[in-house]
Symmetry: C2
């Protein structure tokens, strides 16, 4: 148990901290659609985007997903999100990783089709959150023109939240974003010989 | 369009890359319950845990959540996960941040009750994923004995996946974990005066 002195010190410290927190919170007054980027080599980029989708669905708001790279294999996240019915619009345009298709012109055409779905979703006034999964990969290999993508993101409806995932986010996208987290790899189980498992990787 | 030479070079490079990827994937043969840690000061630690929950629910598997710090305010993630009915068991024991309660003995008692719920869930043979949200905070302030927590995590059923979230993960927990991602803050919208918004922060 904490000694009385310790308890009093703790309370005094926490009172000060609460004051600081309250002052900081009071300074945050704006509400706006955010451009968010999840990048880095660690696990959690797409996963955190699914978490945001879930959070938004908890308020009964509409969520759109466009997958630029990953192919149309079965995933737990897709099955679970589609259980929310018409609140979720899901487009998987990707045909797998670049080393699967081995055809650059085809990859470029695929990314273009995915981007057109993204543009269409941005016009939907009821959409609250748009997830552009692995768009960073398409940008990194110049499969889509960066300027065109940035312009469209800047000119989206002001209330629309957008998440862009994938390694190697372009510096200009980081610059344009409101929130950027780098998922930094500290340790990954695949390096220890554990295979991709349902519910964890897909 | 890609020139023929460029296309051929691309294909050759991707064939080699695919070979490498296939070799690496073949070396990953084990399946096991993973101990995963989401730490760091960036946004996405709990959010990525909700994404894992969603993924697991997509396979119809059971998920348990214990919240050690955050209080019982309404959140989108809770509303959305509870729409999966009996597949989700959710315990919010926390009473808010330490600067809200301002009472260390009470915080310690709260963490103990939360930990007991976690221990009970670990005994459930049908549970696939257990999320210990903000357990890192409880450990950081020594509100729970680290050794006791590590022992229980090591002795959990071998197929059970566990995610521990929160800043300042203890080095011994990082050591014990199979997968650790540090959510590194690159840029956060609260610094620009944007307030916490439903669907994004809660």
């Amino acid at each position: 148990m904490a000694e009385p002195d310790d308890a009093a010190r703790h309370r005094a410290k926490m009172e000060k901290r609460k004051q600081m927190q309250d002052t900081e919170a009071a300074a945050r007054t704006r509400e706006q659609g955010l451009l968010m980027v999840h990048t880095g080599t660690g696990k959690g980029k797409s996963t955190a985007a699914w978490g945001l989708a879930l959070r938004m669905l908890g308020y009964g708001k509409r969520v759109g997903v466009v997958q630029f790279i990953k192919g149309a294999w079965t995933t737990g996240e897709r099955a679970a999100l589609e259980s929310f019915g018409p609140l979720v619009t899901w487009h998987t345009l990707g045909e797998g990783f670049t080393w699967n298709t081995q055809d650059k012109a085809r990859d470029i055409a695929t990314c273009r089709r995915a981007w057109e779905q993204a543009l269409a979703l941005m016009q939907d006034p009821d959409l609250a959150l748009l997830i552009l999964d692995e768009l960073n990969i398409a940008l990194r290999y110049d499969y889509l023109p960066l300027d065109e993508v940035l312009d469209a993101l800047r000119n989206r409806p002001p209330g629309l939240h957008v998440v862009v995932t994938g390694r190697n986010a372009k510096p200009a996208l980081v610059e344009a974003a409101d929130m950027v987290t780098e998922m930094t790899l500290v340790k990954h189980h695949t390096a220890a010989g554990v295979k991709a498992q349902p519910g964890i990787e897909f």
